[in-house]
């Protein structure tokens, strides 16, 4: 009789059952995302499955696009860290190495600048490489290659040497990630001559835009809003369809105010637009799709109609794309304006860690406030 010796542990180590449970979902979002991906990859075999299921999320849509394009064009090659055997840390390239082999789906050493520089070489020789940079924050070592060579080689050589490549990067915040995993570098890229910058906002969009990006003879940086990688499920057709680059999407028509956004912010804006119906404010919504070269015509046409605008982006405020769009509207539709255009943006700070991330990201509340400000000018 008597208590076993092992039962006696220091009081500090005794934890209540409640504490021992998995912490609140919010703080574990990051890992839940990853685990969800792993489960999906292992169990459902996205790669080999017959597509009886037509509702796909963005990860599945991009995976499908990569698979179909690699079937269609055997010059397409995927390379990056963990893209092959693991199928990508978000499972976007899941199943591709099994199907296309280690020569066409390549696990590379840990070397972002190297991956992108080598991809440029492949493109020079006639392949169509799709380089994956694992996270937005790790794109910066590539800026030397992107700015100094990839965006310039066609111009430098008068068209003799060109770089038809795609750099895919999960980007943006909202998943409670560690530092450097929530960046929005689109303004830096848009300010770089010779490259195109594309940001899808839904699974259907992602596949069509990716096909266009891969087939474009110019280098394209394809930023994938990881916050909504799995948040939206919608019909995504099998087979070939493209969404042109340089053409924005009119998500919904409205007469009172033009809201412009891209990536994960499109969902936030749509949310705000729903709320604004209660205030009888009729919102016109534009999803830019291609950040550079931007579809200025669609934006201007809309502003000429509504006279009021709000631009929403996660990226820091100063010198963000919002500033550029307002400058363009100033050039082309100044006299149509009934009010100064508002920007709802991130701040000129590094994206905070998860406890403070909610302070940073634009949300429907801030968007609604901006619309009301613009409407009451």
């Amino acid at each position: 009789m008597g208590v076993k010796k092992e039962f006696f542990i220091p009081l500090t180590l005794i934890v209540s059952p409640a504490f021992a449970e998995a912490p609140a979902r919010r703080t574990r979002l990051w890992e839940v995302e990853l685990r969800a991906g792993r489960r999906q990859g292992r169990g459902e075999n996205i790669g080999r499955k017959e597509l009886t299921m037509s509702k796909l999320n963005m990860v599945e849509a991009i995976n499908l696009a990569l698979r179909e394009e690699m079937e269609r064009d055997n010059q397409v090659i995927v390379l990056g860290e963990d893209v092959g055997r693991e199928g990508g840390v978000f499972r976007v390239t899941d199943g591709l190495q099994d199907k296309f082999g280690v020569d066409r789906v390549v696990d590379t050493p840990l070397a972002e600048s190297g991956i992108v520089g080598a991809a440029m070489g492949m493109a020079l020789y006639g392949l169509r490489p799709i380089a994956e940079i694992q996270f937005d924050g790790f794109l910066y070592p590539c800026l030397d290659q992107i700015t100094n060579h990839i965006g310039r080689m066609r111009n430098r050589s008068r068209g003799r040497f060109t770089c038809p490549l795609v750099i895919r990067v999960p980007y943006g915040g909202g998943i409670h990630a560690p530092e450097h995993h929530s960046e929005s570098p689109e303004a830096i890229l848009a300010h770089t001559p010779g490259i195109k910058v594309v940001i899808p906002s839904t699974p259907y969009e992602a596949k069509g835009l990716l096909f266009s990006s891969i087939r474009d003879p110019n280098p394209v940086v394809f930023l994938e809003p990881k916050r909504i990688y799995r948040a939206i499920r919608e019909e995504v057709p099998e087979g070939d369809y493209t969404i042109p680059l340089g053409k924005a999407r009119l998500v919904q028509e409205g007469k009172d105010v033009t809201l412009i956004a891209w990536g994960a912010m499109v969902r936030e804006v749509l949310n705000a637009a729903e709320q604004l119906k209660n205030d009888k404010i009729d919102v016109e919504m534009i999803d830019l799709r291609t950040i550079s070269p931007m579809d200025v015509e669609t934006v201007v046409t809309s502003i000429r109609k509504t006279g009021r605008g709000v631009i929403v982006h996660e990226a820091p405020k100063t010198c963000g794309l919002g500033a550029e769009i307002i400058a363009l509207i100033n050039e082309k539709a100044f006299l149509s304006l009934q009010a100064p255009i508002e920007r709802v943006t991130g701040f000129d700070i590094p994206v905070p860690l998860m406890k403070s991330e909610h302070y940073y990201l634009p949300n429907p509340k801030r968007i609604v406030m901006a619309v009301k400000k613009v409407m009451s000018f």
Binding site: P109, G114, G117, A118, Y125, Q145, H149, N155, S157
Partner: protein, 357 residues
């Protein structure tokens, strides 16, 4: 044992065939025939004179900032001579010799330094990339092209030229590492000319040689006398043949000397003395070849005079042609950025045209 084993960088031997006095180390037969050697001497002389002419043109305001190659001719001629038609060359910015050897006309080269983008366009079929200025960034491209060729089953090799300074750059290391992992048919040709602008080789790295850096990446490195045309030729030939038959990359360190300034905007008297330069003069690749050819009865003052005259005549003609090229059109700076001009670029071009009266 092969060349790369005999001259493993950690053995501390520098590969040399032709000694500074113009005689050969004991060898079965010279690696190049008399005719080849004479013709390559002719080419080296031409390059030296073309290089000097470029320097003069800059001093006269007829050319922009120029990076002279003076002293490095054997590195470039000896290595470029090995390559076949389908091979690709990736220069840095001091490769007048290598790029001319591979079929880029002197006129095109001069046009580049005179500020015409046209000077970066190698003709179709001539696989020479434009000048790459950000140091150490282009070996990655050489690796990528070689990798793609390997995947496609093409038996071609790529050569990236760079200096001692480049071996400190991150991209250089990423390129070497990728080449080692994927066994790409890439020749990394380092022209160790002892200086990165003013920074001497000893400060660039604590490594005893640059060639030994290849060991870390899992492939062969070799240090050769970069002023010895024969050694450069043989080492490159071995490396190229190895690469072409699937043996992977090689790093060749050509030990040479930059007699001139870093560029025409540099004043080397600020960081080196005549006393430091003197010992390298008798090691000049031209001097050595002259002595060798003299020893073979293939050289005389008259021959030299004739070669110089012919070279200068051609160079002068090239200058006339290059200077006759008209100024570029406005469209020129816009139309090559993308495959098709974007609406933004069209608009900006129209705006610029409107400001030009």
């Amino acid at each position: 044992m092969g060349l790369f084993d005999d001259y493993h960088p950690l053995k501390g031997k520098m590969f040399q065939i032709l000694k500074p006095d113009g005689t050969l180390h004991p060898i079965k037969e010279p690696p190049l025939s008399d005719q080849e050697t004479f013709q390559l001497y002719q080419k080296i002389l031409f390059i030296r004179l073309a290089d000097q002419k470029a320097l003069m043109l800059q001093r006269q305001g007829r050319m922009g900032t120029y990076a002279p190659i003076h002293g490095q001719e054997a590195c470039q001629v000896g290595s470029a001579y090995v390559l076949q038609k389908g091979d690709w060359v990736f220069p840095a910015f001091r490769e007048l010799g290598a790029t001319w050897m591979r079929g880029v006309s002197l006129k095109t080269i001069y046009l580049y330094w005179m500020g015409y983008e046209e000077g970066s366009r190698a003709p179709e079929g001539i696989n020479v990339m434009p000048v790459s200025i950000p140091v150490g960034t282009h070996p990655l491209h050489a690796v990528g092209v070689a990798w793609a060729a390997k995947l496609k089953g093409d038996r071609m090799v790529t050569v990236a030229y760079f200096g001692d300074g480049a071996t400190s750059k991150g991209d250089f290391h990423e390129a070497m590492n990728l080449a080692g992992v994927f066994k790409t048919p890439t020749i990394f040709f380092c022209q160790n000319n002892q200086f990165a602008i003013s920074v001497p080789r000893k400060i660039q790295t604590a490594s005893e040689t640059l060639a030994q850096k290849a060991i870390a990446y899992g492939f062969d490195g070799i240090q050769v006398d970069g002023n010895d045309l024969f050694a450069v030729y043989v080492a490159t030939k071995e490396a190229v043949e190895k690469a072409r038959s699937g043996g992977g990359p090689t790093l060749i360190e050509g030990v040479t000397f930059r007699f001139g300034p870093h560029t025409t905007a540099d004043d080397p008297t600020k960081y080196r003395t005549e006393k430091e330069i003197e010992p390298w003069k008798p090691l000049d690749p031209l001097v050595r070849l002259r002595l060798y050819l003299k020893g073979k009865g293939l050289f005389s003052e008259e021959v030299e005079k004739r070669l110089i005259e012919e070279a200068q005549k051609e160079i002068d003609q090239v200058v006339i042609e290059a200077e006759a090229v008209p100024a570029p059109e406005v469209e020129d700076i816009f139309k090559f950025v993308f495959s098709e001009m974007t609406p933004q670029l069209k608009e900006q071009m129209e705006y610029l045209k409107g400001t030009l009266g």
